[in-house]
Symmetry: C2
Subunit: 332 residues, 2 copies
Amino acid sequence: MLVKRILWGWIACGLLMVCGGLATAQTIDPLPSWNDCEAKRSIIAFTEQVVKSGSSSFVPPAERIAVFDNDGTLWAEQPMYFQLLFAIDRVKTLAPNHPEWRDKEPFASLLKGDMQGALAGGEHALLEIMVTTHAGMTTAEFESIVKDWISTARHPTTKRLYTDMVYQPMLELLDYLRANEFKTYIVSGGGIEFMRTWSEQVYGIPPEQVIGSSIKVKFELRDKVPVLIRQPEIDFFDDKEGKPVAIHQQIGRRPIAAFGNSDGDLQMLQWTTSGQGVRFALYVQHTDAEREWAYDRNSWIGRLDKGLDEAKAKGWTVVDMKKDWNTIFSKQ
Amino acid sequence: MLVKRILWGWIACGLLMVCGGLATAQTIDPLPSWNDCEAKRSIIAFTEQVVKSGSSSFVPPAERIAVFDNDGTLWAEQPMYFQLLFAIDRVKTLAPNHPEWRDKEPFASLLKGDMQGALAGGEHALLEIMVTTHAGMTTAEFESIVKDWISTARHPTTKRLYTDMVYQPMLELLDYLRANEFKTYIVSGGGIEFMRTWSEQVYGIPPEQVIGSSIKVKFELRDKVPVLIRQPEIDFFDDKEGKPVAIHQQIGRRPIAAFGNSDGDLQMLQWTTSGQGVRFALYVQHTDAEREWAYDRNSWIGRLDKGLDEAKAKGWTVVDMKKDWNTIFSKQ
């Protein structure tokens, strides 16, 4: 009797598991923050094509590389790149030790809150702000500075933590691709070390899968202890033509899917889609002035102009943020 | 009766599996090409320490990064780096299209088989050979050239394929670490693209886990098709102080184990072992003139001098190839 009961228990349990499994597959939407739109359908269709073993479109897991721009694609980038806001906060923190900045541009304007004046010096002014705030310390010291900032600083208009301004639909997309054995990478114009301090926690993307712009670092022994010192010199600028170059140097395989939001991502999308076999390219277009920001062809940040034309000509997926996403940020 | 039989079958099967598992753990040696020596015991002790959950020495899998030099550590490097032998073969292949090389150094000497003469021009001569043979084509073309060479070219004295001159004990070590959820990386002075064409097949190390020296590449559209063109300019030299820098840029985490064979690896071993927690560093010392080569403090290739002193002072593991390895090459 006992034996029979155990057996029935096992059989019932097995049946439950099978039915439960079927029910799950039918009802759980992997991308709930995406409205039932063409963009969502194109993502799912592409993914199902490459994972279908035995089909001509099948791609082995090792080659399922997906690359994501960061600013404007995974998190917001207005009113200016968040890393620039970090640099500005940093200038303010360091100012008491630099009385000479009161009369020296770009610092003088910046400390008065006049960003236009601070950036009037163009690229040179920007570079000076970045180098002053990003170099001259060990890599460990820089990591600790960024960690402090990212866990406390607030966005100037939304007053949220910056890491709460990542896009919920993109988090779901990252998870969905990883559940389908994709390896997800960031390929951003932003600083590689800036992003690596929080990318694993926020996006589930480990440091070795973060590619970005970098400054030179130098190995030194300090009291016999090895340290890496951040130098005031640009090493690599990971934007436009730099993105395929960095992908090649750091991954060594061509991605099969690429996600961006600006003309700075165009070469990455071109490089990705010109490989053999099934490929996927997606642009996020910022169309939601109410819940986020609306900008594209004429923006000084994240301009999407040539890329939009090429996306239309080539049939790449374009996300209309306002229509296609029912949720924008990861924390409401 | 039937029910009883099934139940007994299951119980017996379960017992067999448990006992089978125990027997396996006790009898299968993960490093059979390593004699029962201090080196082998130190590797196993370190690995068991970091995987033991709940212990103070436990390291989460994501942080189990192990870095390996290539030339002289994973495969042989005598009478000169194999990539230099590739370059020489390539000069010979290209010579019919370059009649001017008959009177131009370093090509003239090289084509006569006079290596000493060819390298008399020092670093400049070497650079000219490398740039002539490694640049001026697309990355896809270079990959195809290397693949052809590596699958057919033979070592000048052993007459073996170069990929048959990888060290069997190190292949076992790579497998053993990966079985313990380590991520294994190559960090080599050799060319990153040269190694990536065969590292996955030979070592089980995918392209994205290969770090090496590089030349610059440039993104171009050729008839609207994007290509990456290899430029005649060094981008990064991944040796000595360069190794910790490259590890930092490409992995973004400090390894917990490092393996090398020369002074060129010293900074990588210093960087690895100066992190917090349990760390491991190992030098392969070439002591077997009969089965391989014997060289260390005075060799022009793979010199191990300062590194050997520091290994002794710091208690790093040193492999005596002759005593510690019962098999040298992967194919006998």
